[in-house]
């Protein structure tokens, strides 16, 4: 656990970058520092590995004041990832990753094996290992940066806007990679970003800082979106706060109806008295084919003869209410089809069911 205990940082020119910051970054969780430019995020982060020392207060690592630890030793136990990756241009990718193990006295073979293992783990093609950094794309470099920080298996990882220099598509994949890695590794991660979407997506807890180095709010993302502490935070969170909040409500929360589906082989004749105006048509494996409007069904034949309208699905076991809502909005029936991981329909979410679930959220959020 990392603890900020009344930490203030005043620079030589008088700028107060961090002002009496007290917070905890719990072990095994991702704590995100977010806030506008110049609010002291980087400064706070760098006080953890003593790249900067606080003017007042203490930073504790598992209860030990970091200023009592020799900086290089401290830093070897803390992974550090920065925006431009900071790879050593004169070393091959694999040697870049093996740097810290080397410093720690591992032998060459072991360090390189470890490096290769990590490159694989962060999703890099091992063919890149013998290249130099300039031969990699920005996103690949950033992956190497993460691998390098993980090389000595440090319990703590500091990441300063690591993904902000890459384009949105790559960025998304890096974020997902990080979440996947964290699920395996359970590091204590402090992550800095100025992008609130990234903060909300990655953070177990999000600390919103305000210019002048004050902590404006520290909460889990759902709470942050539901109950911003003040106008600054509300403003900073931006629009769609209500919709984004739904991301934190699991799809399981929603009640399913199973009486609104029908196999493609079903005889049209038997469906006239269906439970709703629309029916989801499924193939023989139970995968959705689309919607049919009961009122428009032909006089005879099976559903297989009807051209179904497009549909929206969400994976109930994995997606959030947000996806469910989006799926209802995409369907002509106003209902979403819930599917399992294999894509088989589990049932239909009507707008009423969604409203119920939303009501619970709204109620919960404002209780």
């Amino acid at each position: 656990m990392i603890t900020f205990d009344g930490v203030t940082k005043r620079y030589a020119d008088g700028t107060v970058a961090v002002d009496r910051l007290s917070l905890e970054a719990p072990t095994g969780e991702i704590t995100v520092f977010v806030g506008p430019s110049g609010c002291g995020k980087t400064t706070s982060l760098r006080m953890i590995n003593r790249m900067i020392d606080p003017s007042e207060g203490r930073v504790l690592l598992d209860g030990v004041d970091v200023t009592t630890i020799d900086p290089p030793a401290l830093r070897r136990g803390i992974g550090y990832v920065i925006q431009q990756a900071g790879l050593f241009p004169h070393r091959k990718i694999v040697d870049n990753v093996a740097t810290v193990p080397h410093l720690l006295g591992w032998n060459r073979k072991k360090a390189r094996d470890r490096a290769m293992e990590l490159l694989e783990r962060v999703g890099l093609d091992l063919g890149l290992a013998e290249r130099y950094p300039f031969q990699l794309s920005g996103g690949q470099q950033q992956r190497v940066g993460v691998a390098r920080a993980l090389a000595a298996d440090p319990p703590v990882l500091l990441m300063d806007e690591p993904f902000s220099a890459v384009d949105p598509v790559v960025r998304t994949s890096l974020q997902e990679e990080l979440l996947r890695l964290q699920a395996e590794l359970n590091k204590t991660i402090v992550f800095v970003t100025h992008d609130i979407d990234e903060a909300v997506k990655l953070g177990d807890r999000v600390a919103v800082l305000r210019v002048g180095g004050h902590l404006a709010q520290l909460d889990d993302p759902a709470t942050l979106l539901s109950r911003p502490a003040d106008d600054f935070v509300r403003e900073f969170l931006g629009r769609d706060r209500g919709i984004r909040r739904l991301s934190f409500v699991p799809g399981q929360e929603v009640r399913l109806r199973t009486d609104l589906t029908a196999p493609a082989s079903a005889e049209v004749a038997g469906l006239r008295a269906a439970a709703g105006p629309w029916l989801a048509v499924l193939d023989e494996d139970g995968r959705p084919l689309g919607w049919v409007k009961v009122a428009d069904l032909p006089a005879s034949g099976t559903l297989a003869d009807v051209r179904p309208a497009p549909y929206g699905t969400f994976v109930r076991g994995r997606d959030s209410l947000r996806a469910a809502l989006d799926a209802t909005l995409l369907s002509p029936s106003g209902c979403a089809i819930a599917v399992d991981d294999a894509g088989r329909a589990e049932g239909v979410v009507t707008r009423e069911a969604l409203n119920e679930a939303l009501d619970r959220v709204a109620g919960g959020a404002h209780a």
Binding site: P71, P72, Y80, I82, A85, F88, P89, H90, L103, Y132
Partner: protein, 223 residues
């Protein structure tokens, strides 16, 4: 051109104390010593200043002033003051000539390393010396070598002037040729010096190939 063929074709010019091999060896010897001395002064200083950022302005300014030092004036002054007993005094102006390019390029090389890179290095737990030795120097190497190369060329070309105060080396051909109105000799001296300078260039290019990591790309030199 015939002159040159005659000069180089004359076996007399290939032997004895005034023969090409001896003069070449002499020239190489004090050029190398001067360069070595300059490296001893300028490399550590440039690395230290580039690394710590301390005293940078002073050094850059004085390096520029040192560039202005007239070699000939310094040479005669030093020889008058210290005598010709050893070659050492003669080396002083050459060292003064070689220090600025080495110093400035080393300093610029180290200082110009991407600050993020330093940051990353410190953040990984490298100590000051390790950051310098394992990161800053390898990355600054192309520029450092370039400084050395420029210095070497200038020393080789300018060492010619040392013949004026009686020193050996290829400058002898130039000075003696002038004194005896023997143009082929002067020309031969010039050609030999130029060839030597080009050879030095070539050697540095080879060294660069060998020691600079392919991952490091070139930056602009400061002469």
């Amino acid at each position: 051109m015939n002159w040159l063929v005659d000069f180089f074709g004359d076996p007399a010019n290939w032997s004895g104390p005034d023969g090409i091999p001896v003069r070449l060896a002499e020239h190489l010897q004090f050029s190398a010593i001067a360069l070595l001395l300059a490296m001893l002064v300028a490399l550590p200083l440039g690395l230290w200043i580039g690394h710590t950022g301390r005293g940078a302005l002073l050094v850059v300014l004085s390096a520029n002033a040192a560039r202005a030092l007239p070699t000939l004036g310094l040479l005669v002054l030093v020889v008058l003051l210290a005598g010709l007993g050893t070659d050492l005094p003669v080396l002083i102006p050459l060292v003064a000539l070689a220090v600025p390019p080495i110093l400035v390029n080393t300093y610029e090389g180290v200082r110009g390393v991407d600050p993020d890179l330093r940051d990353a290095a410190y953040g990984m737990g490298l100590r000051g010396g390790q950051v310098l030795g394992r990161v800053l120097v390898p990355v600054a190497l192309p520029l450092i070598l370039l400084g050395l190369r420029l210095a070497a060329i200038q020393v080789v070309a300018t060492a010619t002037v040392a013949a004026f105060v009686g020193l050996g080396g290829l400058g002898r051909y130039v000075v003696d040729g002038f004194a005896t109105n023997d143009y082929p000799r002067t020309l031969a001296g010039a050609v030999l010096v130029a060839l030597l300078a080009l050879l030095v260039q070539l050697v540095f290019v080879l060294i660069q190939r060998l020691v600079v990591s392919p991952g490091v790309r070139r930056r602009n030199a400061v002469r």
